[in-house]
Symmetry: C2
Subunit: 361 residues, 2 copies
């Protein structure tokens, strides 16, 4: 076994103790004589596990009782569409705050189901900063306001909860959920693809205020209706049982490691170390993002000379540092520093970066 440091933007690194436990019990889970993947989701063992997973998440995030927790499928992208199907009636509008690739895509996928009002956008600034809060053109009659709390490609992140008045705030937290404490009651709906900070891909976690489930939404099949999923404890049809199980192992790992407060501190250290290396490189490495909104999770950076990119990627991989290639939209490099990436990985990365700049500077 030779595990390397994995900076993948997603599907991303999982905590090693989670993988080791999943490996140990892959053939015989919980004394059942079968794998967790071979269990009926309606069996006693699986139901008991599912309840524990939800309880652990509620404890970690401090989720109030008037919020339902759902385990969905389809990736966050499917829910870009399904959220307006559920929260908006025919003719309604919704406000979208566009701060990067993913929030823009959320607005586009919503368009068949709701009148999309781009209430603020930093696209004109190449998403290098957030749109000034006082420039947001919020509509108090909007069905909801949508944000992406962190943008994996552009590397910008909300570090506070914007005040949007009485309109429910809907947040795609795919790439920073569980990276620190969240004031859940400030949101109407939180959702997250699992493949960054939760577990494997193919699972979407959703936390939704119950009054929003009473909205009639659009005419649609039952399977698209969140209220039906809530009523059936996310077992309206067969869920992604492996993803649910792995999410549960991750939640236990978070609890065993001090919870979200400790995680926030660890993530702060990791991000500071990398940004300090970039900013202190005398221009060899560059991150162009407005400093107060830099992402703790995804750090895009460029080399002062893109002719060095290929060497950087080749040598970093040889040094056991995986998946540092930047998104094709921006080029350059990107290091994703999700919860499962330990401080040691970032230390190894910055050591390599120092060495590389010394040799190629």
């Amino acid at each position: 076994m030779s595990r390397l440091w994995n900076f993948s933007a997603g599907p991303a690194a999982l905590p090693l103790p989670v993988l080791e436990r999943a490996q140990r019990e892959l053939l015989d889970w919980n004394g059942s004589g079968a794998s967790v993947m071979e269990q009926s989701h309606r069996g006693k063992r699986f139901i008991a596990m599912a309840e524990q997973v939800e309880a652990d998440l509620r404890e970690l995030m401090g989720i109030p009782a008037d919020y339902a927790v759902l385990f969905e499928q389809g990736g966050a992208t499917q829910h870009f569409a399904q959220i307006p199907m559920n929260l908006a009636a025919e003719g309604d509008s919704a406000d979208y705050i566009v701060t990067g690739h993913w929030s823009e895509k959320a607005a586009n996928e919503a368009a068949p189901y709701v009148r999309v009002n781009v209430a603020a956008s930093s696209k004109a600034y190449d998403y290098l900063r957030m749109p000034a809060r006082d420039s947001w053109q919020l509509d108090p009659t909007a069905a909801y306001v949508h944000i992406a709390t962190n943008e994996t490609i552009h590397g910008v992140e909300f570090h506070d909860v914007p005040d949007v008045g009485d309109v429910p705030l809907v947040a795609d937290m795919s790439s920073d959920i569980l990276s620190g404490p969240v004031e859940v009651s400030r949101y109407g709906l939180i959702y997250a693809g699992a493949q960054k900070n939760i577990g494997p891909s193919g699972l979407v976690l959703m936390i939704v205020r119950r009054d929003l489930l009473a909205r009639p939404g659009r005419k649609m099949a039952k399977i698209f209706r969140y209220a039906e999923h809530a009523t059936h404890d996310s077992m309206l049809n067969t869920p992604n049982t492996w993803g649910w199980y792995l999410a549960g192992l991750t939640f236990q790992w978070l609890k065993d490691n001090g919870g979200l407060g400790a995680m926030a501190e660890r993530n702060r250290q990791k991000a500071e170390l990398l940004y300090a290396t970039i900013d202190g490189s005398g221009g060899f490495y560059r991150n162009p993002i407005d400093v107060p909104v830099r992402s703790r999770m995804n750090v895009p950076f460029t080399l002062h000379d893109s002719a060095l990119d290929a060497a950087f990627l080749q040598e970093s991989e040889a040094a056991g540092l995986l998946a540092l290639k930047g998104h094709k939209a921006l080029g350059g490099m990107r290091a994703s520093l999700y919860n499962a990436v330990p401080v040691e990985a970032v230390q190894a990365l910055v050591a390599f970066m120092h060495d590389f700049s010394r040799r190629h500077g």
Copy 2:
């Protein structure tokens, strides 16, 4: 490690060699230094694997080149809705052949998106037999004809491909795909939730004739459009990478074990052994399904006295035979005999059944 014989209707038993291999390479897949769950789906390693998985499936099933293969999410239930969204235009009708719980549900979930014509139904016969072929009220202008080739709860199965003329035949094969050879060219679209004969839950396999992808369907978000998924090789958004990988291991296992012809013969033996035990029990065990349409995959049976049910379940579990409890809609027992259930498991089951009937007869 203590593996028991698992007769779960789904999520169901997986082939032991598949699980063992997944366990071996869980922490370090393919020499990558990371788990298969921690790989970008857009990385070279994952793409190469995905292409091999599709090639293996095409070889196993003999899928013609004018069919696309998609790896979807949401369970078959989501596609009960998504199929009419894609294949039917506003105002179109579609023919549904209702032969049990699942085909009835498919018709219900389709209703918001297409005029559902129940062209034939065996509901009046409690689904104990198939509707006579000459009673089907097929509409030659229908957008498609929908069948479920096997009904997991009611235990009836099509053993041939119905002739529906030039209208595309759409088949939910969730519970009998890969159980034997299939003449793909007779179908317009085949789909299957993975959790019976393919892999873990959370993955849906779809095989669709490419001309059907050109249908405009309904106004909808891109993420719901099969043509978009086909264009993007099922990576329009992050797919269920673990499910895809496990499906690939299962396809390799099928190839290593003689392919679908050998599987059909094995499944025939298993089903014959169990039905012969039931039919030869002098009425102690009963399966009420019309013999020619009995399912090879799911065998529901009752005991002559339901007061014995609890003892049967308790003793069978103690004998290492898992998940024999029947669906709540029918009561009694059910043994699911998917590909991954070996002949030895069925031999153990019938030995137990003989013993139980002798002791309680």
